[in-house]
Symmetry: C2
Subunit: 198 residues, 2 copies
């Protein structure tokens, strides 16, 4: 139907998460019918990001500058460090604007199954950041999975002896979670971590 160039654009868009072949075709048509309002802005935004794309050498975030905008932001509390598995986790957490400190991206999680060992992650770098001083609290924000928790335990061992408070995200009922829709694991966690009512 369409030219090879349009097919190529359609396929490149279809590979984005959230877009399938059908919606990619609709997106292409949308872009072609709105050259000034849609195609040109997307093209220039993409070009800019491609030109400046870099991985933060401090925290591992991907951004358009190194150090990244979070590491350079003077309003961030440099005494607090939140350790996450992936850049996606950093973005998800930071979107909530609840954490006032900085981040450290491990680049994955320890996994016997997938053969991921401590030296495959940025753990030594994390230890160096902490041992350099100036950090009061390290929040271990691993996923609530077996591998995430294994990683958190390992990190807690590696950071033992440094003058920092170690904390971990609370596990329990998600906000709005109805008991009879939750899986057993979440329920068990919530029960185990129960707190006295004032």
């Amino acid at each position: 139907m369409a030219s090879q160039e349009i097919e190529a654009l359609s396929q490149a868009l279809a590979r984005l998460p959230g877009l399938g072949p059908r919606s990619a075709r609709r997106a292409v048509l949308h872009l072609m019918k709105r050259r000034q309002a849609a195609l040109e802005p997307l093209l220039s935004a993409l070009q800019t990001v491609a030109d400046k794309l870099s991985t933060c050498s401090t925290c591992g975030n991907v951004d358009t500058s190194d150090p990244c905008s979070i590491c350079r932001d003077p309003r961030r509390d440099e005494k607090m460090l939140c350790v996450v598995e992936e850049v996606a986790d950093l973005w998800a957490l930071d979107r909530s604007r609840l954490f006032p400190g900085r981040y450290h991206v491990l680049g994955g999680r320890l996994s016997a199954l997938e053969g991921v060992r401590p030296e495959d992650l940025t753990i030594d770098k994390l230890v160096r950041r902490v041992s350099a001083g100036g950090i009061d609290e390290v929040v271990l924000a691993m996923n609530a999975t077996l591998e995430g928790q294994t990683t958190a335990h390992y990190l807690a061992e590696r950071l033992e002896g440094f003058p920092v408070r170690l904390s971990q995200l609370a596990h329990g009922l998600p906000v709005g979670g109805e008991l009879d829709y939750l899986d057993e694991g979440t329920l068990a966690q919530a029960l185990r971590a129960r707190r006295p009512v004032a």
Copy 2:
């Protein structure tokens, strides 16, 4: 959270049909983490389409060449012409690969409410195409809406007297349509257009 450049890209993507702000952010992260595999191919495909973007001066399709790839395709039956309201309709129809001929995009539909008159559409151009000869059949593929059908009737009048067969897409039950889920209008059409069983 992210730099202004990343925000701009995220917003440009969020304006695409099928992507909201949330999936746009996921898409941006996907692109930034896969520079070679995702970002570069999308950028270059987008650049190519932007460079070559044109509206076909024959049929009104948007493509990367003028005449468009359909109008230039020698395997197309030039004796058959399918008239549609919008480029999106052309793409939707052509995707099915059921129509072997060429197209004519009106650029809308007649609408008293929205003040769209015959001269706002490419109707004169359609009449010129037909009067130039070489066309045996004109398929009026308007939407099954009041305005679509008004437009089809108007076109039928304008094309009266030319030696072409005029046809129209059949209206009736959609494939797989269950009677008790269909609206009354579709049911009425299907009943009115009923055909004898062999």
